[in-house]
Assembly symmetry: D2
Homo-oligomer: 353 residues x 4
């Protein structure tokens, strides 16, 4: 790269915003030129306006930056990473796209729009080309591309490998989700100590897990996505874990494998599509397969591949469907900020910026 | 009752043993006459030999009792409650049964023996009559009766109500199990803080959950149990909760209900069989149905009905099977010591002591 | 008591308000006739307006009560228990006192007022007579009486016993405080999991611990309190405990005891003043002395004496002062709602209502 | 360095052993040539014999190393890092020293021996020269050098800076210690969830905190250490934190500073002795001073300076002594394995290997 691409973070003070700022530190292609937030924080130094909650220190580059208002006028960048709440995102992201900016969004507002790619580059990199249709339809010079809900993320990566090989028909999924997924301050300590909460986001989470993977595992067909014909049932739970979403999954195939060994090979050999394989944020490996009887575990495995890898373990026969397994993904890295950055890298690499 | 029935606790110093001692304090029918343990503790005062881990105080009656060796010779009682490890139980429990003692066991050693009742009185009280066959075959004057694995317990109670009404065919179950289920010292704090462990007991737990409910939901038919024709798939997880096992379940019926409302009625109206309904430890209610979007929760709901009730919530349509729900049961009360005591009460009430 | 005294709870929906409602269930002298809160909740059923966070169920009597506005007009009671925030309390409590109501307050607003008793009945029951002066000066027919900050509570009880015997001169105190002390939602789970916070309330807590015990250990002298001549140094910390504040204390005496045995006797023999000894909420025992090397512990010991007892342990020689020890007190029972109710009982018993 | 110095880890499978192996990965001076443990593990591959509990992955170099027996015969190295239990260390470490090996020990066995340096290089680097006397007296060609107890570590670093400037006379110290300090499996989850334990190691910990800083803050005087004339009082507590020991301290000076500002300057300007300043493991900075009202916090600050820095905060006036503050140190990095490695680097640098 000759000169770095100027990028900005919208919603920079929140928990996902902090991850963006942390992961963009020393990025080989991108340079953060603006940190944007609501008018409550705008005008203040980032280090003063922000209650930093990550256990890695705030990057030096961000400390003295003056927060600007999250608006098209105040933010000058070619890419904006959006950590906005979905109601704000709904209004603001199209303004940026119209103004020629590529919006890489972690918000759910446009994930289900027909012309908006919902992307995990290691799964469906080619869906990025939907932005051409999007630009045509909406008459935008910029675009909006989205990454899925954090609970769908790891599950979809594992299912992609399995679907390619055996054809996935049905998926039963129960999540044990980390606290950071609820933002900050998020879950009260009195609600989660010595406890679990058998619901996340009042049910909306389960719908997302039952819908989003079908779009990502679908096929790009003449400027639209044909959703994969897979049925999902999801239960979502909040547990006392800081980072890392775990999902217990049982899967039924159309062409079941002869044995578990074949499943293990398929999972550990899975590779991202060629165009997504060598990007700066590409997970290495895409899937880390663990063979111990009690892994993956969030505290020990969430940082595999710098938090970008999907970790799968306990692959075994299922007595109702074909196989069952456990999948773990770092919810604020692969499942949020890291995922958006990986999407942006793909956009650049495909010449679509 | 004219005079109390003398009972003993085997394995009195461990975590389940402590629950027995706590729950038997002021029991209307039973009087604890012996506390038994291994030769490491035998001969010592109970209060000196025991690291008491419950948050209710050690009952006064137990404090100065001298622990005796867990042996037929040293323990004089009509009923023994067994909190022994399964390998010790396997050898010792038959000796007591042969010597005329009724063994109410929390150990897994004999749960699957054909002539041994596996009992939840609110579910299958009539299975108690299997002890007649057991006595005949084994030439025992005593008997062994067992209660199921703690994770199967609440799930089986809920399934019983549903099976009676709609016929249960398939069950997916994912557990979030409490730490006390692993005994003391059990799970290391370094293994569970900021973490979950996606396996319990190296897989044995999942087999139990897939097998035990089929026996309890089966029919007593000419001195043997016909297992229920239900297929289970189970994932078991350990979470950072002190007491209370939560299970997320999806269920397929042979005669599905027209709507969720019918399911709610069936669950909240469920009653124990008549002979198990008015016993001192009978849960009141058997099933407590919660209608909030985020209940049951272990910390808030595990003591419902003094820890004997099964708490069900989040009953809703399932996109793969018919319905899904969350069920909670106190693992060391209903799922262990309280369950054994309830079994003993049934035995007495049926005139089988 | 012929007929019960009508009482109300102000701030009924919050965490301390919930404790009041729970502890007043079946109180032998008091009958709750009104639950009051801000206009956000007023007009709703209590069970609908409240997110109940205790692990004991909401008392039946409260469920269908309609919440009224916390105002003199809307609340008809002889005693009001105040769980109001201190800024609201500052304005509202005098209005009730003026209107003839006895305000038993957990708020800090009037604790340091010269004519307001700061009471722990087992420590300074006679300070209650300060209300006569208060009524004279302020021309009130009602009154305000307060209980101390929850961290001061257990410490002051232990110091009272020691001060009577050996004369306390200096106290070094470091607290490990529970999450419920911060109210609900209070401390974010992300702030306290795998963590401690070495400050509570931004320093105000430490000042309270350094000041309040001096008033309570002081003497009532001609209608005013002479503060005890004791110097305190306090560090306050928040830890991942739900209920129960622990304090590590080192104490210097003016007349040091000959040995630790004398200190143990003084602590375990301590009795409340006669007038406070047989009240319904009187702690039994006042001080529970534990002799194990690792007690008191909040989870195991906080409910000693129904949460009203002060638990002391690890009494040993101090290398800088005379002795050191650990003291535990239930922060929302003895240290908040239970304390206010005990104060109200004393007021009634002294004929000062 | 021309060629790397061969080193070994004794007690390689335990929690401190794992930290040694992790921190020695890619060390610029040292090359691990042997991993040693008891005969239970000897002969196995390291990756098979070890339950790895760190959240960073096991270094590749260690995975396939065959564990050897911890004995002089089996271990060929110039330096051994000892993570042995103190009873084993007592016997084994002198054998290595006699055989010409430099033992850098984390065990407590020889910390108080007159001729054994107890070292924190940033505090008392010159005490390393005590090994000359040790070699003379004991007729050893190797040596034993030790690092202090993990709770003393951070406290002593902070006190060193203060002692140089103002003369420390008295110290009150209350610790909130992490779970990893107890090793693995260490503390049971049932003992620490929703709880604190007001004692560590049955009192031995408090004696260490009251003694070890006096040796390190003492002066090397004609081949022996004159202990510093400082009086300590310590309370030690275990809390639900994975890594990072926090200490609340109050300090009395012989020459008190005029104001807090002077104390802050002294702390933040403190530098290690010249000979310890540029070593590979030297903490940068030695003391990180935080000015927020609620820092240091273990989860957020324990990795400051790669876990080698001492973090100090909340420096303020004390009402009994002169100042009080909070100090945090990573107990298994600075307080254990990292400390031993830093000691070894000093030994090499001083030409004493």
């Amino acid at each position: 790269m000759s000169s770095p691409i100027p990028v900005a973070v919208l919603g920079a003070t929140g928990s996902v915003g902090q991850r963006f700022i942390s992961l963009l530190d020393n990025h080989p292609w991108f340079k953060v030129v603006a940190l944007a937030a609501s008018d409550r924080s705008a005008g203040q130094k980032y280090s003063q306006a922000t209650r930093w909650i990550l256990d890695t220190p705030m990057p030096d580059y961000a400390k003295d930056m003056i927060i600007v208002l999250a608006s098209v006028e105040a933010v000058q960048a070619k890419i904006v990473f959006s950590a906005l709440h979905s109601d704000v995102a709904k209004e603001l992201e199209p303004q940026f796209a119209k103004a020629g900016v590529a919006v890489c969004s972690n918000a759910s507002s446009f994930r289900q729009a027909e012309d908006v790619p919902l992307l995990l580059p290691e799964v469906n990199a080619n869906h990025i080309h939907l932005v051409k249709e999007q630009r045509k339809i909406r008459n935008w010079s910029g675009c909006i591309i989205t990454n899925p809900n954090c609970t769908s993320t790891g599950l979809t990566v594992a299912l992609k490998a399995l679907d390619d090989a055996f054809g996935v028909k049905k998926v039963f999924a129960v999540s044990l989700q980390a606290l950071s997924g609820a933002g900050y301050p998020g879950v009260s300590s009195l609600d989660i100590m010595d406890n679990i909460i058998p619901n996340v986001g009042n049910g909306g989470e389960e719908e997302k897990v039952e819908t989003e993977p079908r779009k990502m595992l679908g096929k790009l067909n003449q400027n639209k996505i044909d959703f994969a014909d897979i049925k999902f049932s999801a239960h979502t739970n909040r547990v006392a874990v800081i980072d890392g979403h775990t999902v217990c999954a049982s899967v039924e195939f159309s062409s079941p494998p002869a044995d578990i060994q074949s499943v293990l090979q398929i999972l550990s050999n899975y590779q991202a599509p060629a165009e997504a394989r060598e990007l700066p944020s590409a997970p290495k490996p895409v899937i880390h397969l663990r063979e111990e009887a009690d892994r993956p575990q969030p505290r020990l495995d969430r940082l595999t591949g710098k938090g970008m890898s999907t970790v799968v373990g306990r692959v075994r026969k299922d007595s109702l469907f074909d196989i069952k397994f456990v999948v773990l993904s770092h919810n604020t890295i692969r499942g949020a900020a890291g995922g958006s950055i990986y999407n942006a890298e793909l956009l650049v690499n495909e010449g679509l910026l």
